[in-house]
Symmetry: C2
Subunit: 217 residues, 2 copies
């Protein structure tokens, strides 16, 4: 069941929503107007009953015998995810990973905008990445006061991640997207999203070792 | 249900295994010896019944009233995932993202070893990244014949990704880990794992926009 006792949607359901939306977006590009839960099942790897349950959490957008309207469902999931607004982001740690994330965000041109970048390395401070000047990490707190951001992205080493998280907590950031491969503690009320690339690599290992080329979007 | 009609474990179950293993590893570091499905539920965000169902697919490692042996279950999930062997990997595209992935793989020192790197950029060809020399992409096929790899990692732009995938298919690679934000077609039998960073970012947006700081590992 997707609903918890307190009426909140379970995190497992929420984590499936971006995938639904991404697949619906691909279907829109292909000109597909409607889709059944069985077809969505084949594309997502989730069961049709799981999909119906998930989407029922939000009132159920499907109609028996018709399925789901692709564009309508795409828009509604986007609204649920909070993608109908803009998010300002600061990248902390501007090495290869930080720069790759900056390029990625710029590429997508969605509602996620990198507005500031910080590093401790004198060779990086002052250079411009996609039009954003890398600023001195020691000035981050005052910079964030002047130009608040919604999301802080941690692209530092493991050893620096907790210090960055502490400063982002003091800097009135609402959420942290953590790429450092370590557990960090965040202040009360802070949203934390850890990126675990190893999960994806381990899944790949499963399919290789089982000689099982099931591929999904 | 995790099992499909053909007796295969569903991809949704397989995708949860790396997370179970990661959390079990953290528990081992903390010295925890056993854990119940309810405790695993709190740590993973999946329901206890989902967890029991998932692990029953592999024979069920739990004992009523005891729960799961942390170290035993960690080892068994690792074996199921195919982590009891080494995977040789080639990185194609050695810009910021490719170099970040090379650093990441080196950092983890697990069974995933980067053995070759390729790029088309003359400024990158010949340089050494973590002890691996970047080779000319035009020589990739003959390089892979001499030094076969299990996994090809695509870190190129969207526009180059399909060409790289085609050459990896011809190069006897078993699986592709694709970071290029585009759909690619792969040859029969090839395992494809796409990394969708936007799914993680969209999940973060949900929790921020709903002012809902539920955090999990």
């Amino acid at each position: 069941m997707g609903m918890k006792a307190n009426g909140k949607i379970s995190t497992a359901v929420i984590r499936r929503l971006p995938k639904y939306r991404r697949i619906l977006q691909e279907l829109m590009v292909k000109g597909v107007e409607r889709i059944s839960s069985n077809e969505l099942s084949a594309l997502t790897g989730f069961t049709a009953s799981q999909i119906r349950q998930d989407l029922n959490n939000f009132g159920g957008f499907g109609q028996q015998g018709y399925g789901y309207n692709v564009e309508g469902l795409h828009g509604q999931i986007g609204n649920i995810l909070g993608l109908d607004r803009e998010y300002r982001m600061a990248i902390v740690g501007c090495g290869n990973l930080g720069q790759a994330i900056a390029n990625y965000a710029t590429y997508y041109k969605t509602g996620f905008v990198v507005t500031s970048m910080f590093d401790v390395n004198p060779k990086l401070i002052g250079i411009s990445i996609n039009g954003i000047e890398v600023q001195d990490y020691s000035e981050m707190q005052s910079c964030l006061e002047k130009n608040p951001v919604d999301i802080g992205i941690i692209c530092t080493t493991k050893g620096s991640a907790q210090d960055v998280a502490d400063k982002l907590c003091n800097g009135n950031v609402k959420g942290i997207w953590n790429f450092a491969p370590t557990d960090i503690n965040v202040c009360e009320g802070m949203v934390l999203e850890n990126v675990h690339l190893s999960d994806s690599l381990n899944t790949l290992a499963y399919f290789i070792s089982h000689n099982d080329p099931r591929n999904e979007a």
